[in-house]
Symmetry: C2
Subunit: 201 residues, 2 copies
DNA sequence: GCAGCTTCTTGCACTCACTGCAAACTATTA
DNA sequence: TAATAGTTTGCAGTGAGTGCAAGAAGCTGC
C-alpha cells in the first residue's frame, strides 16, 4: 500500500481509517442507532468536531465509503471494450466492488448491518443515487445515447436494485453467497423480468 | 369524501392534512432544507410537539405519504386475476398511485421537489423499501414462489427503479409525461434490459 | 348537564446531530 | 528558525426528535 506524501497526509488517512473502524465496530456491537458520534470520536481519539471534519454524517463513517470505488467503476465503464454489452459492464463493475469488500472480510456483516438499519440504508441510497447519476452519464456517453434516454438510466438503476435485492435475500438466507444472488438478478434483468407483460394486451 | 366517525376523528384528519399542506407549501416556497418544523407547526396552528405526534420526521409531512396507497396496492395485488403477469400487476399498481397523485394536482411539482432534495428522496426510498418488502411478500405468495426467491423481489424492486428513473428523467425533460416514461421503463424491464448480457460469454 | 374516562395537545427538559467561527497547534517550506 | 498553510479543537448555537406529566377536549353513561 503506497504511503504517499508527508506525515500530514498519512495522519489524515490514519484518522479517517480510525474513525471508520471505530464507527463500524461500535455499530456492530451496539447497533447502529445506539452509537453516538461522541463515542466514535472518543474511540478514535479525536474530538467530536474533528469527526465532522472527516465525515459529514455519522452514517458515512459506518459505511466507511471508499470514493475509490466509484472512481474505478467510472474508469472501468469508460474503458470497456466497445462490443461489451452495457449490463455486462455493470456486472464487472459490481463484482469489482464486491471483490474489494470481500477482501476486507466485512461484506457480509456490513451488508447485514446496512440492511437492518433504516438510517444506514438511507445513507447508502444517498450515495448510490449520486453514484447512479454519474454512472448513468458515463454509460449514456459510452452507448452514444442522448442524456435523457431511458435505457442507460434504467440499466444502472436496475442493477442497483439487483444488488439491494441480493443483499436483502442474503440476509435471510446466508447460505446463498451474494455473488450468486447478484448474478441471478442480473440474468433475470438481462433476459426480461416478465416476458408476458402487457397491460394493454 | 366520507367524513366518518366523530369530531375527534375529523379533527385528527384535518390536523394531519393541515400539516402536510403547510409542509408541502413551505417546502416549495423556501426549499425543503430551509423549512423548519417550527414553521410548519405554526402554519398549521399547532405546537411543535403536536407535529411530531403526527409525523415522526419532517420529510414525512412534506411527502404527505398516504398509507392508503400501500393498502390499495396490496389489495390489487392479492385480487389480481391468475393469468395476469406479475409486472402487469405492478404496472396497474403504479398507475393507480399515479392517478391519485395527479388528481391531487401535485404529481409534477412534488416529484420535482423530491428529486431535488436528497433528504426527501431518501425518505421516499425508505418508505419505498418498507412498501417493497410487503409488496414482494404479496407477490411471492401470489406466484406461489418461496419467500427467498429472487424474481418477485426483483420485479418489485426494479419496478420501483423504473419509477424513480421516470421521475428523474421527467425533471430534466418536463415535456415527456411521467406515465409515458414509466411505461417505457416497464417495457424495457419486461423484455429484457440487455439481451446481449454475458459476462462469461 | 355533569362526572368520569379516554384521547389529544402542549410545554418542558433533554439528547444528539451538525455547523460556523476563532484560537491553538503542527507539519511544511524557505 | 520564522513564516505559512493546513488541522484540530472548544464553544456557542440551531434544529430534529423523544419522554413525561399536566391540562384541554371529545366521549359515554347517568
Amino acid at each position: 500500500m503506497g504511503a504517499e506524501g508527508g506525515l500530514r497526509e498519512r495522519k489524515k488517512l490514519q484518522t479517517r481509517a480510525a474513525l471508520a473502524d471505530a464507527a463500524l465496530r461500535l455499530a456492530l456491537e451496539k447497533g447502529p442507532d445506539h452509537v453516538t458520534v461522541e463515542e466514535i470520536a472518543e474511540a478514535a481519539d479525536v474530538s467530536v468536531r474533528t469527526f465532522f471534519n472527516y465525515y459529514s454524517h455519522k452514517e458515512h463513517a459506518i459505511l466507511g465509503r471508499n470514493p475509490e470505488h466509484l472512481e474505478r467503476a467510472l474508469e472501468r465503464m469508460r474503458s470497456a471494450p466497445a462490443e461489451e454489452s452495457p449490463l455486462t459492464t455493470m456486472w464487472f463493475v459490481v463484482h469489482d466492488v464486491l471483490r474489494d469488500l470481500e477482501s476486507e472480510g466485512e461484506l457480509s456483516r456490513r451488508g447485514e448491518l446496512i440492511m437492518s438499519s433504516p438510517a444506514l440504508l438511507y445513507q447508502l441510497m444517498l450515495s448510490s443515487i449520486d453514484d447512479e447519476r454519474q454512472l448513468t452519464a458515463a454509460l449514456a456517453e459510452r452507448l452514444g445515447e442522448p442524456v435523457g434516454s431511458t435505457r442507460p438510466a434504467l440499466i444502472v438503476s436496475a442493477a442497483g436494485a439487483a444488488c439491494r435485492v441480493a443483499m436483502e435475500l442474503h440476509k435471510t438466507a446466508p447460505d446463498r453467497p451474494i455473488r450468486e444472488l447478484v448474478d441471478e438478478g442480473f440474468q433475470l434483468l438481462a433476459q426480461g423480468i416478465d416476458p408476458a407483460f402487457g397491460p394493454n394486451n
